[in-house]
Symmetry: C2
Subunit: 232 residues, 2 copies
């Protein structure tokens, strides 16, 4: 079936996000250096984020609260109050960081919007994601903007229903195999993986899956997408 | 025009919310009693929440971060680390609090769903609101669930477009004059105010507005809604 609807992930697909989190995490490791080695701080933070995920969901506010909890734990309560404010200020910086589009994004979307129905499908904090969509200048290129709490096959199914589209005519494009590729393939739709330099450990998956079971296309950057879609 | 679509606010209209925040705020005032009088703590917290609103948006995670910042300020950095963890734990309690429906809610919605198209329109944290909608057991009574970042006339206009409904056939029902009544009237639709015992100071408005300019209906509890809608 010909592709008619193309879904795009936002963070680390259309604009940089994980790189800002990585900078913040490095500062956080430095802050806790008096108490614990950098690698171990990273492990403790990830464990805390994962434990908090079902209470906080995704996004920078939950990340900030997880950093504070990790710092309190690691320092065994000896953390100075000023360090807590420092962590909150980093969280605010993340939330206010200007949107930086990834290479090839605006021209590729402008080209595709004439040929396909484009849908933005992103997970995370509603307030922060809406702000970024508005600031990106890309909102008008999308027929729909769907901000969701988790990217499961069921969530993709509902989005497609709202678009009155069949899985067979849908292609999802994103940087996360876990969120943008696997659940879409499970639905019987197609997916294009565009790797980003950094993958959050929580999103990382074992890529050695059986090709017969589960295959997807991969491109190096979004500029390669129009040609690839033309060949599908 | 006959009413065909009825919008419902969620927090403090369908289930209790502000009462849980009020309990938390009282605990917070007690925590800071060694440094500042309770009333002044409340004022400082509200000022901090308002200042943070454009970065955090609405919801319990932003509220928690604002409590921590207020505590750091008020204690001039002398706050013990354990108190910071205490505040985070209160935030988690808010996020995990079981949904408690307000009186008359399930039977009223069950009655109305046969006669009107029902839409849930709530603002706040996407993850937390979705969790509450799911837990409430009410999701299936609603044709749509719209979780928004702010309830402006423009946001209501977009929701009505998605419902293919005209303002003249829409009635919004909620506890906040600021969010559920005034923007809806501005759009030319109707609104029913169902007061809740407690109003968050940020949502409070001067109710002495000119009746000629801006009028709405008020009921004491949701059980009165079906009769009132029947008379519209």
């Amino acid at each position: 079936m010909t592709v008619s609807v193309v879904g795009f992930d936002a963070d680390d697909t259309l604009w940089h996000s994980e790189s800002h989190f990585a900078v913040t995490e490095q500062r956080f490791r430095d802050l806790l250096a008096p108490w614990l080695a950098a690698d171990e701080v990273g492990e403790r933070l990830l464990a805390r984020e994962r434990a908090n995920l079902e209470v906080f969901g995704y996004g920078a506010k939950g990340f900030t609260l997880s950093m504070i909890e990790t710092a309190l734990e690691v320092s065994d309560g000896t953390l100075p109050a000023a360090a807590v404010q420092q962590v909150i200020d980093w969280g605010k910086e993340l939330l206010c960081h200007p949107v930086e589009l990834i290479d090839h994004v605006p021209e590729t979307l402008s080209l595709l919007t004439g040929c396909y129905r484009l849908v933005l499908i992103t997970k995370g904090d509603l307030f922060h994601q809406e702000s970024k969509v508005a600031e990106s200048g890309l909102a008008e290129l999308f027929e729909r903007v769907e901000i969701v709490t988790e990217k499961s096959p069921e969530v993709y199914r509902r989005v497609l229903q709202r678009c009155s589209a069949e899985p067979a005519e849908f292609v999802m494009v994103g940087n996360s195999i876990r969120s943008d590729v696997l659940p879409v393939l499970e639905l019987g739709a197609r997916a294009v993986h565009v790797p980003y330099g950094i993958t959050w450990a929580h999103e990382a998956v074992d890529e050695t899956v059986d090709d017969g079971e589960c295959s997807w296309l991969r491109i190096d950057h979004l500029g390669e997408l129009p040609g690839l879609l033309g060949r599908l």
